[in-house]
């Protein structure tokens, strides 16, 4: 196990280096550097002025030297300066990661229990009417990406309900949600729409996996034995089937993070929630080199750490793998 974790961490470091190298290469292409020079000092600089500005600021030194400097700085905890936010990158990333963390927390709270419930209800009696309805609903939820559900929810819950409450006047105010979510204010009105949008897309996927895993467990020998022993269906499902059926979904939930990350970018842009995804978009749009590099490696750490946790958790939950 220890060797396994060490190897995983080694692969993680290699991925981080490779990724930051690619990002570093892309943000340092001549066109991007020219844009930096122009936005930083003067939009109407001539080519010679741009060249001399880049020379003065040290952008013309060899690529590998500057990449090495960046790595040395990052290892020492100095992630550089964000040009867009006019703050050290460390402050920007820390603060915004916190905002996104709160959002993710609520998404998980909503998504995981409901997805597991749907999956178990559908999977405990394969082929029943309930199973078919829930399966179609799960497929529908995985078919609607965040930018579709976000729009549909905003239209219904913010625009239409708002119109009903304000102009028509027979709609309770507490059922009107905001189409804009302010970061750091955890209220129902503020958080409902972004959390719902993010949760729905992943919910169907986890529910389908839980269903498949549940169906497999329900057809296994030991469940039949339990039924034949005369245990009630409820006891069989809750006490015997559930534990084994939840192993696969658990690992998949952890693997949802990379996908949640890109969902977060869409949702934060849509609801103007100033979190990690929001700085990703503004950093990428303005070629904020230091911030982009920090974002990419933070994202990679999040993704790979969750993969690691998922692997370890799987080994912990499933004794057959642990023994090997």
């Amino acid at each position: 196990m220890f060797i396994f974790i060490l190897r995983r961490i080694g692969a993680m470091l290699a991925t981080m280096v490779a990724m930051t190298f690619i990002v570093f290469y892309l943000v340092n292409l001549p066109g991007n550097l020219e844009k930096i020079a122009k936005t930083e000092s003067n939009m109407r600089m001539s080519d010679e002025e741009v060249a001399s500005w880049l020379e003065r600021k040290g952008y013309n030194r060899p690529f590998l030297v500057r990449y090495g400097e960046w790595i040395a700085g990052t290892v020492q905890g100095d992630m550089g300066w964000s040009r867009v936010f006019r703050k050290p990158v460390r402050e920007v990333v820390g603060e915004r990661l916190g905002h996104t963390g709160i959002l993710m927390f609520w998404v998980m709270i909503v998504m995981v229990p409901s997805a597991l419930t749907i999956g178990i209800l559908a999977g405990m009696r394969e082929g029943s009417l309930l199973d078919r309805n829930l399966s179609v609903a799960s497929i529908a939820s995985t078919s609607a990406p965040e930018y579709v559900t976000g729009i549909v929810f905003t239209v219904i819950f913010a625009s239409f309900f708002g119109y009903m409450a304000k102009d028509v006047g027979w709609w309770p105010d507490w059922l009107v949600f905001k189409g804009v979510a302010k970061a750091g204010k955890v209220t129902v009105e503020n958080f409902t729409l972004p959390v719902m949008t993010l949760a729905i897309y992943g919910m169907g996927y986890i529910a389908r996996l839980t269903r498949a895993s549940m169906v497999e467990v329900m057809t296994s020998q030991y469940i039949r034995t339990a039924r034949l022993k005369g245990l009630s269906f409820r006891v069989v499902v809750l006490k015997h089937a559930l534990r084994n059926a939840l192993i696969t979904p658990f690992t998949v939930i952890m693997l949802q993070f990379p996908w949640l990350l890109s969902g977060v970018v869409i949702v934060e842009a849509m609801f103007n929630y100033k979190g990690f995804g929001f700085i990703l978009v503004s950093a990428a749009g303005n070629n904020d080199i230091d911030l982009l590099l920090a974002i990419s490696w933070v994202a990679v750490i999040v993704v790979l750490l969750t993969q690691l946790i998922s692997d370890i958790g799987y080994a912990y939950l499933n004794p057959r793998i642990r023994v090997k």
């Binding site: 692969a11 290699a14 991925t15 490779a18 990724m19 990002v23 892309l26 943000v27 292409l29 066109g31 991007n32 020219e34 844009k35 399966s135 179609v136 497929i139 529908a140 995985t142 078919s143 609607a144 990406p145 930018y147 579709v148 729009i151 549909v152 905003t154 239209v155 913010a158 625009s159 239409f160 708002g162 119109y163 189409g179 804009v180 990379p258 990350l261 890109s262 970018v265 869409i266 842009a269 849509m270 990703l280 978009v281 990428a284 749009g285 070629n287 982009l292 974002i295 990419s296 994202a299 990679v300 993704v303 790979l304």
Partner: protein, 400 residues
């Protein structure tokens, strides 16, 4: 004052205006009904309600894209100059031309219905084609990775995991920004080609179909030199012709070409979806490797590539067809994501992602929600159809 038609009429018109698509669906399903025994797993879809529903959704959009010119009442960029047509509510009637904008007008007084219909053409061209090429890439790299394992597997798996761990939107932003995608002419001595990172990526990805097909013919007709020569010649001539036209926009005949923006989007979408294909192909190969017929082929002394392409791949086709359907849906979503962030295609392009992006600022007012709502629903129904179809296919293929 602009005139409006009622809600009932809007719904009726929304159905009847698609008549060429409905007719084509009826004809297709009617023609295939007697042949269903011979169509394999596709024929058995007639027995699955979910699969059938998915198939109808997908065929609806396929035929809408095919007959877009007949279905759409206006061009995708045509504006109306009558008063009140800007952001006009659904059902608004153009007083000058008498055309009804059944799904309303956008902020530049263009007909949203016509734009959605024309946009289906872009979506249904790019998404399946990009998925197909991503499949070629995934197969060409995934089969040997699963078959040989070893260092080539380590390297390609590392690359696939690298791309999968990358926040995909950040990658898109970095690859499709104007600064990166401007092509520079590069002189190769004989001729000059435009070069930029997306073009380079496309040049790499578009090589895979040619390599893949050539390897297939080589392994199959190794002993039959005459047949091999014919197949190879056809593949190489057609492939390289399409290659020069699509990637470098320098088709000697001047027929095939691709907008630089479309090429960028294409390359970005292939990059985003091929690692997933690679992983599934690699997994399937490792699974099928343990079967007896593979051992038999190995004992017969068949070459590794013959076993991969003609023993393993045909036996993996069931899961691969299902995954292909799912992946077209996923690619459609990726394409929409690109449009949603305003990356890729031209801003005025009627593809659904860009339309959603343009309608986005207007969704907070109840009177202008239709700008983004209709393309969003169109995108959702296509992806839903593909997912239902994949589910139906999976259920039917499990019955074997």
């Amino acid at each position: 004052m602009p005139e409006f038609i009622g809600t009932g009429e809007i719904i009726l018109l929304s159905i009847t205006r698609f008549w060429p698509a409905w007719l084509a669906i009826a004809v297709t399903l009617g023609v295939c009904w007697p042949l269903r025994e011979r169509l394999g797993v596709f024929g058995r879809l007639y027995g699955s309600r979910i699969g059938m529903a998915g198939l109808i959704f997908v065929l609806f959009w396929v035929f809408t894209a095919a007959f877009a010119d007949q279905i759409a009442v206006l061009g995708p960029l045509e504006q109306s100059f009558s008063p009140g047509m800007k952001k006009g509510l659904p059902g608004i009637t153009d007083t000058q031309s008498g055309i009804v904008f059944i799904w309303g007008g956008d902020n530049l007084a263009r007909d949203i219905f016509s734009r959605v219909v024309h946009g289906s053409r872009i979506v249904l061209l790019v998404a399946p084609a990009a998925t197909l090429i991503a499949y070629m890439v995934g197969l060409t790299l995934g089969l040997p990775a699963g078959y040989f394992r070893g260092w080539s597997d380590t390297i390609s798996s590392f690359l696939a995991n690298l791309i999968l761990a990358f926040p995909i939107i950040l990658l898109f932003y970095l690859l499709v920004t104007p600064e990166v995608r401007i092509p520079h002419p590069v002189d190769l001595g004989i001729f000059t080609i435009p070069w930029s990172i997306p073009i380079g990526m496309a040049a790499l990805f578009f090589l895979f179909p040619i390599i893949f097909l050539c390897t297939m013919w080589f392994t199959k007709y190794e002993s039959n030199k005459k047949k091999l020569a014919i197949y190879l010649a056809v593949t190489l001539v057609a492939g390289l012709w399409a290659y020069s036209g699509l990637v470098f926009n320098s088709d000697p005949l001047g027929i095939l070409s691709m907008e630089p923006n479309e090429l960028n989007v294409f390359a970005a979408v292939i990059l985003g979806s091929s690692p997933g294909v690679f992983r599934i192909v690699r997994g399937l190969t490792m699974d099928i490797m343990t079967r007896d017929y593979v051992a038999a082929a190995q004992t017969r002394g068949e070459r590794p590539w013959y076993i991969m392409l003609w023993e393993i791949m045909p036996n993996a086709r069931g899961p691969l067809i299902v995954d292909f359907c799912l992946r077209i849906g996923y690619t459609t979503i990726l394409l929409g994501t690109l449009g949603y962030f305003g990356l890729g295609l031209q801003p005025e392009s009627p593809d659904w992602g860009s339309m959603i992006n343009h309608g986005r600022p207007f969704i907070r007012l109840a009177t202008t929600v239709h700008l983004a709502l209709f393309p969003a629903l169109a995108l959702m129904s296509l992806v839903l159809g593909l997912n239902l179809l994949a589910d139906g296919l999976r259920e039917e293929s499990l019955k074997d």
